[in-house]
């Protein structure tokens, strides 16, 4: 089974802090994704990476950055956390180059910015 692991289930940070959310997958997948999930808004794509050191903006990249130094790890960075970034953050991965494949998700990090 695919295993996508997000380092924290719950995280509380303060406004202005730099926040790192970590995601690791164990299936050698090329593509990785970061989403946020908010009631009434569904899942929205923040950033994705189609391979190591590659990154692409999703639909809502403002206030975020990402890092993909190793294939298995994709980090989401909140440069200066704000209260409107309080949300559930979900990481996903999928293999590339094999036709259509589903994304596999971690269990999420619930981030609260005070």
């Amino acid at each position: 089974d695919v295993k996508v692991t997000q380092s924290s289930r719950y995280l509380v940070k303060r406004t202005g802090e730099k926040v790192f959310l970590e995601c690791v997958q164990d299936m050698d997948h090329e593509n990785m994704f970061w989403y946020r999930q908010d009631p009434g808004l569904g899942l929205r794509l923040i950033y994705f990476s189609y391979d190591v050191k590659m990154k692409e903006k999703g639909d809502i990249p403002e206030g975020y950055s990402v890092s993909r130094e190793k294939k298995e790890r994709f980090s989401l960075i909140l440069e200066s956390a704000s209260t409107n970034q309080t949300s559930m953050y979900l990481c996903a991965s999928r293999p590339d180059g094999q036709g259509n494949q589903p994304q596999h998700f971690g269990d999420g990090t619930r981030l609260s910015i005070l």
């Binding site: 996508v4 593509n31 994704f33 999930q37 009631p39 009434g40 569904g42 899942l43 794509l45 994705f48 189609y50 692409e56 999703g58 559930m88 979900l90 996903a92 999928r94 590339d96 259509n100 494949q101 589903p102 994304q103 596999h104 998700f105 971690g106 269990d107 999420g108 619930r110």
Partner: protein, 113 residues
């Protein structure tokens, strides 16, 4: 997440009955569709997928139907069980989108004994 079910349409189903969850998609270029299940406090879990060259695909207790003419997707769950209570999302993917998915809003399924 814990409150992902807020603001969502709800389907109440009696245990043992069949469930049908519907999803309309908008992009006629979408060629791959996925159904996910999200239980409270967990991430979305892959259930079943279907490619646009198919109309129907069956899994264990689940069937996905695709009607490209009206851009409609449905998930049927046979003999619904309490463990099927969750939010169900459809997602669509276009061939040139780097595997990016567009998610539907979701449907909350509540199974009553």
């Amino acid at each position: 997440g814990e409150n992902v079910g807020l603001h969502l349409p709800t389907l109440s189903v009696q245990e043992g009955d069949n469930s049908i969850i519907n999803c309309a998609y908008s992009n006629s270029a979408s060629d791959y569709f996925i159904w996910y299940k999200q239980e409270s406090g967990k991430g979305p879990q892959f259930i079943i997928d279907i490619r646009s060259n198919m109309d129907k695909r069956q899994g264990q207790r689940v069937t996905v139907l695709l009607n490209k003419t009206v851009k409609h997707l449905s998930l049927q769950i046979a003999a619904t069980q309490p463990g099927d209570s969750a939010v169900y999302f459809c997602a669509e993917n276009t061939a040139d989108s780097w595997g990016k998915l567009q998610f539907g809003a979701g449907t909350q399924v509540v199974v009553t004994p």
